[in-house]
Symmetry: C2
Subunit: 216 residues, 2 copies
Amino acid sequence: MKIGIIGGTGDIGEGMALRLSPLFEVIVGSRNSEKAIETSVCCSDTLHSRNVKCSCSGTTNADAVLNADVIILAVPWKNLTETVRSLPDFGDKIVVSPVNPMEKRDHFVFVPPDEGSVALYLKRILPPEARLVVAFNTIAANRWKAIDEELRYSVPVCGDDLEAKSIVSDIVNSTSALKAYDAGPLAASCMVESLTPLLLNIARYNKMRDVGLRFV
Amino acid sequence: MKIGIIGGTGDIGEGMALRLSPLFEVIVGSRNSEKAIETSVCCSDTLHSRNVKCSCSGTTNADAVLNADVIILAVPWKNLTETVRSLPDFGDKIVVSPVNPMEKRDHFVFVPPDEGSVALYLKRILPPEARLVVAFNTIAANRWKAIDEELRYSVPVCGDDLEAKSIVSDIVNSTSALKAYDAGPLAASCMVESLTPLLLNIARYNKMRDVGLRFV
């Protein structure tokens, strides 16, 4: 399976490439294809130096969409609309949103769009064939990148297309020690997207780093 | 310290009495004082049969407020306004809200009041002296009551009064294996109150029971 990471040269995207490219064909996308190639080479070098085989290439965001089966929108909320508008038609590909609508004020605040969540906003602006799934919202960039450590977190997954949700859950469950949990339809996604500002507040007020969560 | 549990004959209230009365003087409150006395006797009997010493009495909700230092509003959201209006002035006592604004539709939905959270609603309707703290939102009634098992959960705690937040965090940390985490001011409480409908969805869609959470 080919996984395209839009915004793949960002902090989260880089970490995702490191974790997913030993398992899947990863296509790192970026507005700047040279940066994407640089990230993909760096990812491959890091893994090869640990004797880990991987498949990682770099290209434009648009080519990543065209060539991948599953597209992860590893883009901050503030850039999401512009980025999505710059991309070719997703067709009926699986689109994964790990995007959290939040702002940093004196604490982190959950600030969803009028639709109630980023996922419901995407559902409105994407063509109806696109198979949207919410996943990977709560894993900190530093944890993605710390590839010598297992990711022992729970990952809530939302979606209306049950097959797409199942495929994405399989990707989650293949990745390190992550465990996917069905969190219901896209209509329930606001409760998933508000986890990350909560975790950032927990980190901040308790002097912790990269807090994640586990359902028990 | 005297802890009054308003709605103490409900599922959550009963479980809280069982867990807290070995540690604190618990006053179970109810609209119906006879029911409150019955619950308190049942709680004491259950603990005494395990050779656990406890302090648990039952009375009206109003007397529980008057006699306690810390008041826990163990009341469902739909009854909260009516219950709070029926109570005497809290003065500058500590008031703990574990209340989550949610509805069961085809999935559990977070439906906060216009203020953004139950805590912010309470802040508006309570006298300014009341020292409001959000805590204990995510622990299922069955887990409270299963007193032969430890509660190994994380408990996010919100509040604007730092001393009150610290006192409530100490109560949390004294209770079984619960661990309190500062989740910021009351303005950040919507992210705590939306956890419970998420956990109920996780339980429902993954065929689990009484799902809790841990920050890791």
